[in-house]
Amino acid sequence: MTRVLLVDDEPDLLEAWSFALEYSGYEVERARDGREAIAAMQRSVPDLLITDLMMPGMDGEALCRAVRERPEWAAIPIVLHTSAHVARPSGIVLWNALLRKPASMDQFLKTVAELTQGFGQGEDRS
């Protein structure tokens, strides 16, 4: 079963999207900020990371960098799900896909499916 780590500080969004993922047959781990996400990844490495950008404590970008810096995690595909307009930093592929929040359910599930079928492809589909 494909394991997805979902990170968002808004409880309602966390619940809605994890419900959608579970409904579509994924195993979902939840975290409310970057630190909780790192802790969860240390327990078990997910097949996909979906994270919000603006979160208290450790934000989405810091989480992406932390993941890319660890060799054992560097290949995990990341979806950045945010309502903010962000520019992709040059020189490093911090995230593989960027979804504008709130994404449509079709797009969301389609992106998740694509990234979980070709692990480590590192392709930005946004």
Partner: protein, 525 residues
Amino acid sequence: MTDSTSRSAEASAVGTADRAIFDRLIEPYLMLDPGLRVVFANRAWLAMFGETEAALGQCEHLIRALVANLHPGQRRLSPAFSLDTPDRAAATHEQPSRYWQIHVSHLPATADEPPLILLRFDDVTMHTLATRTERREKARLRSHARLRQILAREAEQRLHDHRVRFERALAFAGVGAWELDVGTGAVHCSEQCVEDLGLPDIAGLDRQKLFIEQPDPVAEHWQALQAKRSFECERCIDGARGRRWVLIRGTGQFADDGTMQSVMGFTLDITSRKERELELSATAGEERSGRERSEALAKTMDHFIAAVSHELRSPLNAIVSWAELLQVVADPSHVARAGEAIRRNGRQLSHMVDDLLDSGAVVTGKLSVHLQPVDIGALALNVVEDIRKTAEHKGLRLQTPHVEPCIVMADESRLEQVVWNLLTNAVKFTDAGSVSISVSTSDGQAVLTVQDTGRGIAPDALPDVFDRFQQIAPQSSGRVGGLGLGLWLVKNILSLHGGTVDVASAGRGQGATFTVRLPLDSNLR
């Protein structure tokens, strides 16, 4: 004794013995008969004056005047007169004459002798010359003194003129002058100075009276004065002419040994200049503070807009997300769950929009309340249920340890807004632990408290908690935590109800307690 013919011719009038005695006297003596013919001249006389006729010719008038009406037995004294002796007659003119004084005695006739006039010639040259010198000296001194007096008077007059002209110039320039004797504290100053310094009187001035405004500028600039530098300071003086600004300058006057003897200086009324200066700096200050205010306002507005968009977006995102979910789920229980989430987030959104609209109404003073009896206890429990889900999502316990029914006169929806804002605020700033709400009555008031175990409030931030747009370290958490309107609205709504809200916190990380007090409905009290 002598070969003089005249002496032998008069021998009968003066006895030989008398002649011998007179000849032994050192003063010149001359004896005349009442017809002023020479009867006898003693040896000293002849030695001094030589031939009797020549000498007598010189002073005949004097002798005649002396003996006129001189009766037998009487004596007279002539004034001093000069009579050149033969040895001096040839002498140079530079040598002073000799001076003589004649003592005249009219010797009465005896039985065998006719009356005689006895003349004694006293040499008073020294005395006369001394007296004359003294007199001349005195006259000279007198004339010197008079000259000095005249000179002094002239100098005084000139000084006075100079001073008058100087003071007139100073007055024309509006400058007052003063001088302070360092040793005695005595003060001299011009009228302009007295006026400038707002002093009541020019008489009896001393250091204390001159510089009423403390600190005494001379004392204040003592070191500079000792270092032979002048000082300058501005003083604000409230006097009979109102508030004046005066420039005071002073400089030390030193004795040869280097000790400062006095301080001299000027005063100048600079009120108009100073007022313009103050006005300009006030204007500049106003402009600056105005600019700062508008910059701060712009910053607050930027922050506010960022906060509003984020806060509105959160429930909006949740609503859209759950709505998206409805497309894929068919199970009624899932549909109900989505519907509940949409309803909850919709309510939250609507509360926020209400807050925003109300904040405008508060600012324009148009926030109105429709008062009616409301049970604040029941109302609080309803709000608790609305928020329970949010609190539980954060892992917080939402507790209602003591809620009793309390009827207050209130606008129900406004009161709901108050409780909602206090509870969401507590949940927002509490990361772990619990949020408790209780309602009770005390002293004719309904008391509602919301207590949390959250981040707490630093003592210095407590007074600002109810200000608009104030949040605990809004930027430090990496995201904006709310509109910053909730507590401000709570305070304003409660004041419309005659109620109050207070906050207490033991500090950062120590949680906070908000206490609302509302008067109980008077009909039920």
